[in-house]
Symmetry: C2
Subunit: 219 residues, 2 copies
DNA sequence: GTCTATATCGCGATAGAC
DNA sequence: GTCTATCGCGATATAGAC
C-alpha cells in the first residue's frame, strides 16, 4: 500500500540482508580456499554471526554452496548466452558472442580465487554422491548445447560450412577452457588462457578477431 | 653372500613389504573415492594394520599420496616418453609415439577411479600450500616440454612444417586431455576422450591414424 | 623396529533458551 | 533471528607396549 513504483524492486527485510551477507562471505572464502577447507564457523564469523545462526538461513553447507554457484553462473552466462538466463531475450550476432566468450576467458584471469574454486568443484563434483553432482552435469550439458549452437551459427554467418561437427568442436572448446585453467593456476606467467582459446577458434575457421598476435605460451 | 645374480633385485625386508602393501591399498582406495574422502584408518584397515601403525611408515597422508602419484606417473610416462624415465633410452618414431599417446587416453577409460583422482588432485594442487603443488607444477612443465618436442618431431617427419607454434599446440593438447576427463567423468556415454583427442590432432595435421570414424560426442 | 591405545582437536549438525 | 550448549564423527599427535 505504499507509493512504490516500478517492477517490484522488493525492499529487503533484515533476514534477506543477512542471507545476502552470508552468501557474499561464503563466496569470498570459498574463492580463496576452496569448499572443503572453509568451515561454516569461518563463514559465519566473517558475516558477523555464529555458525548456528547461519544454519538458521541455510539447511546446510551444501545448500549454501549451491547458492554461491548459481549466482556466479547466472552472471557469467548473461553476457554470452542471454537466452538461457532470460528466455526470449534477443541474442547478438554469433561472431559478436564469440568475442564476448573470449573476453570472458580473459576476464577470468582477474579472479583466480573463483577460477580455482570452479576447478576444484567441477573435479570434486564428478562423484555421484557430491552435493553439486547433478548441478555440474546439467551445467556441462547446457554449455555443450549452447556452444554447439553458437559455433554452428558463427559458421552459417560467414558461409564457411562443413568444417566438421560443431558438437565436436564445442566439446573440445569447453574442455580446452577447463584444462587451461589448471595450467594457468599452476603457472600464470606461462599460460595465456585468452590467447590460447583465440588460437584454437582460429584453427576452426572461427576468427574472433581483436587478437594481439602474442603466442600464448612463454617459458 | 648368496648366489644371487643380476642387478641387485634387492630382497624386500618385512618393513618394505608392509610399505608396499600400504601403497597398494592407498592407490586402490584413492582411485575409488579420491584423496579427501579416504581416511588413514581406511587405508590401514585395508592393508591389515591400524592407522597409527601406518604412520610409522609414512610421516603423513600427504607423503603417502606422493608415493602413489609417482608410481603411476612413472608407469604412464614409460611408454610415451621413455627418455624422461630412463635417460638415454632410444625413442620410437614420433608418429608411433603419438599413437601410443592416443591409446593411453583410451586406456584411461578403464580406470575411472584413477582418472578422477588425478582430476581432483590437479585442481586441489593449484593451491600454493598443497603438499603436491610443486610436484604438479613440475609435472606440467615437463609434459608441456615433452609434448612440444613430440609435436615438432612429428611435423618434421612428415614434412608438414609451419603449422603454427608446437608449444601452443602442446599446451592446448594437454589442456584438452585434462578438460575432457571432467566431462567424461560426469557423463561417460556422451564423451569419447580418445576420439576427441584424435580429432584434435588431425586438425593440427598430426594424424595418428587408426581412427574408427566415430564422432566422439553423442547426446 | 613395529604397532596399539588413548587423548585432543575441529568439523557439521541439532535442540532449546532468549 | 540469534544465541549457548552439546552431540557424534573423523583426523591427528603422542606415550609406550611388544
Amino acid at each position: 500500500m505504499s507509493d512504490r513504483r516500478g517492477p517490484a524492486p522488493h525492499r529487503p527485510s533484515k533476514g534477506e540482508r543477512t542471507r545476502a551477507r552470508i552468501i557474499d562471505s561464503a563466496s569470498e572464502l570459498f574463492s580463496r580456499s576452496g569448499f572443503r577447507a572453509v568451515s561454516l564457523r569461518d563463514i559465519a564469523a566473517h558475516a558477523g554471526l555464529t555458525h548456528a545462526g547461519l544454519l538458521h538461513h541455510f539447511p546446510g553447507k551444501d545448500a549454501l554452496l549451491m547458492e554461491v554457484l548459481r549466482r556466479r553462473d547466472r552472471l557469467d552466462a548473461q553476457s554470452v548466452f542471454p537466452g538461457v538466463v532470460l528466455p526470449g531475450t534477443p541474442e547478438a550476432a554469433a561472431d559478436q558472442r564469440l568475442r564476448l566468450l573470449v573476453q570472458l576467458v580473459g576476464r577470468n584471469s582477474d579472479t583466480p580465487g573463483l577460477v580455482a574454486l570452479y576447478a576444484k568443484l567441477s573435479a570434486e563434483a564428478t562423484d555421484e554422491e557430491h552435493p553439486a553432482h547433478s548441478y555440474f552435469k546439467e551445467r556441462y550439458r547446457i554449455l555443450r548445447a549452447e556452444l554447439t549452437a553458437l559455433i554452428a551459427a558463427a559458421r552459417a554467418e560467414d558461409g564457411s560450412a562443413g568444417q566438421g561437427d560443431p558438437a565436436v568442436a564445442a566439446t573440445q572448446l569447453l574442455a580446452l577452457m577447463d584444462g587451461l585453467q589448471t595450467q594457468w593456476l599452476l603457472e600464470p606467467e606461462s599460460v595465456s588462457m585468452e590467447e590460447l582459446v583465440r588460437d584454437f577458434l582460429r584453427r576452426f575457421g572461427l576468427d574472433p578477431e581483436g587478437g594481439t598476435g602474442a603466442s600464448g605460451v612463454s617459458s
